[in-house]
Amino acid sequence: MDKNTKLIQKTALPDALAALLPDYRVFAPAGENERLAFTRIDAQNAFALCLSGTPLMPPKELLFPRSETLYGTDIKTGDVSLPQTAGPTAVFGVRPCDAHGIANLDCAFLEKGYVDSAYAARREALTLIVLACAQIPYETCFCDSMGGGPAGSEGADVLLTETEDGSALVAAFLTGKGRAVKALWAAAGLLSDTGADATTKSANPAKAPPPCNLRISKDKGLAAKIAAAFDDPMWARFSEACLGCGTCSFVCPTCYCFDLDSENRGGTAEEFRCWDCCMFSDYSRMAGGHNPRPTKKERLRNRYLHKLAYFDERYGRTLCVGCGRCIGKCPAGLDIAAVIEWGGTL
């Protein structure tokens, strides 16, 4: 019997979140329809936990906020103030694709000799309680074509997988952070043994997840092939209908571009950073006005090549986890899965 694999009843989930409250800021998916979002849970707020869908806005905001003040300078005194760090945070109900996305963000913000201290502090304090997809929530999901899957464990501290009858979750506590959660849940009497015999896999009561509906074949040589197609006329075709908005980047769990700026607010000069997007015309505009990516063709090519080639060259990973959000929400019907398939045929 694996001591780090336990069973928790679905009906016990509100108690499981409550058990975390003394030690963590707790976030979980709550809200209906387009209001479904990772929401701060506290003892007072009654919430309807959502176990079926996943929020449109991925949990990356907990690590990489839409806007954050980096430091402020009092204009009169010159005193510099730094923002407070938020402390231990647990996020429940993250889907495997989004946890995989965070593992990608870690490369960009923590690796290759560059450590982003604001990100690092929040990452250190973050525990990811991942909920495997017992049903495929969206027709655009294609995580199992992108090296992950509906029950993928990458980036997870705790992985929760539904049992065969759907009444309970098998909880695998995978990391030190995960075992800290286990201790709190065990102390609250919420865990029981799975009854599975570790020697025979078949007795594991966790249900195998279904495959995604959208399946593509991602070529092993994709990064090199697609990078070599920099001048291919298809980029103009792909970008024809693109409106150049920020939707695809802002809903993406792995896009991480930001802008730095400063503003005078209430006697304080604030240096802040905020999300930016390579599909915007001002993103690549230089001082003096020259824009090396003058039209949407160059911008769209950059977004795809960053995801499918450049990031892979630098970190050995594709910067797309197949969550399908950009496909579902693009107002012009652009489809990164189609671009990945095309890249494989080159």
């Binding site: 387009e34 449109l56 409106l243 920020g246 503003e263 802040f272 905020c274 915007f280 015309s281």
Partner: protein, 293 residues
């Protein structure tokens, strides 16, 4: 005529226009790999005309793309419904297009599977070079019907009416909630056929008009500015709201501007009915009694 028959007419006509060299391209709709979702596409060869589709989901505006950087040369063929034709009129009025460079294939519309089409009053195009079929007034594509266009909450300004029905404090909360959820992706701006500035004020953030910070206060600056900037040119197509990834009810903003203008003027107002009418917020009179300039 069924949608299937209309689709065949479109494909045949597009292929013929391309084969003749009458147009360099046809802007229309294609099917995506997901049922119920079409996207705008550009057909350049007669044999590709079979990509074109026409059904209750051919919703995105084709006209938006005419103002794009691509149309500096060649004659563009465009499939246009009533809303697209109003957009073309607005773009012509604003000197964003040259009529001679367009070949407009008019497609009288049945109404699409989108509640924003329900109150549409201009299903037959207002400007075109040819109409492919006559409007069928009994047609009811995708659950829209002229019959209930004037029913409470379902009329021309249905989204604005939702907000007007609230008390004053609740209205404030309504918009604060919208701005708190907006992610400032600017899809609403970019999809809007009358948003045609070469450079938008929000992209000039060094000028200090619009902070790049994403928060309710700065989102509100954008939302209110957009509503006033396009309100009097809004053709009421609902694209802004359709493309909003956060599902925000922003069509109510421009509807409210039009509704208010009609009430103040005591006269009907609808943008894009022709290529000559002035938009009321853009109008000025050198003999104005107020010395404002």
């Amino acid at each position: 005529m069924t949608n299937g028959q209309k689709q065949q007419l479109i494909r045949d006509r597009a292929a013929a226009l391309l084969a003749d060299g009458a147009v360099s391209c046809i802007v229309g709709w294609r099917q995506t790999r997901f049922a119920g979702k079409t996207a705008v596409c550009f057909v350049r060869a007669p044999e590709d005309a079979t990509l074109l589709v026409w059904n209750e989901y051919t919703i995105p505006l084709t006209a938006k793309y005419l103002a794009d950087e691509r149309w500096t040369g060649g004659k563009a063929g465009i499939l246009a419904r009533g809303c697209d034709s109003k957009a073309i009129n607005r773009l012509l009025r604003d000197n964003q297009l040259e009529r001679e460079k367009l070949y407009i294939v008019g497609l009288p519309c049945e109404g699409k599977a989108d509640e924003r089409c329900r109150p549409c009053r201009q299903k037959t195009p207002l400007v075109y070079d040819e109409l492919l079929w006559e409007e069928d007034s009994a047609a009811d594509g995708g659950g829209t019907s002229a019959a209930d266009a004037d029913a409470p909450g379902r009329g021309r300004f249905f989204r604005a009416d939702e907000v007007s029905a609230l008390g004053i404090d609740a209205r404030y909360d309504y918009w604060e909630d919208v701005y708190a959820r907006c992610i400032r992706c600017y899809a609403c701006r970019n999809a809007c056929p009358v948003c045609s500035c070469r450079e938008c004020y929000v992209d000039m953030h060094r000028a200090g008009f619009q902070s790049k910070r994403q928060n309710a206060a700065d989102n509100r600056v954008f939302g209110v500015t957009r509503a006033f900037h396009v309100g009097d040119r809004c053709i009421e197509c609902g694209e802004c709201e359709r493309v909003c990834p956060m599902g925000l009810p922003i069509l109510g903003q421009t509807q409210k501007v039009i509704q208010t203008a009609e009430a103040l003027a005591g006269a009907p107002y609808e943008a894009g009915l022709n290529a000559e009418d002035e938009n009321f917020l853009g109008k000025f009179d050198l003999d104005d009694k107020d010395a404002f300039m």
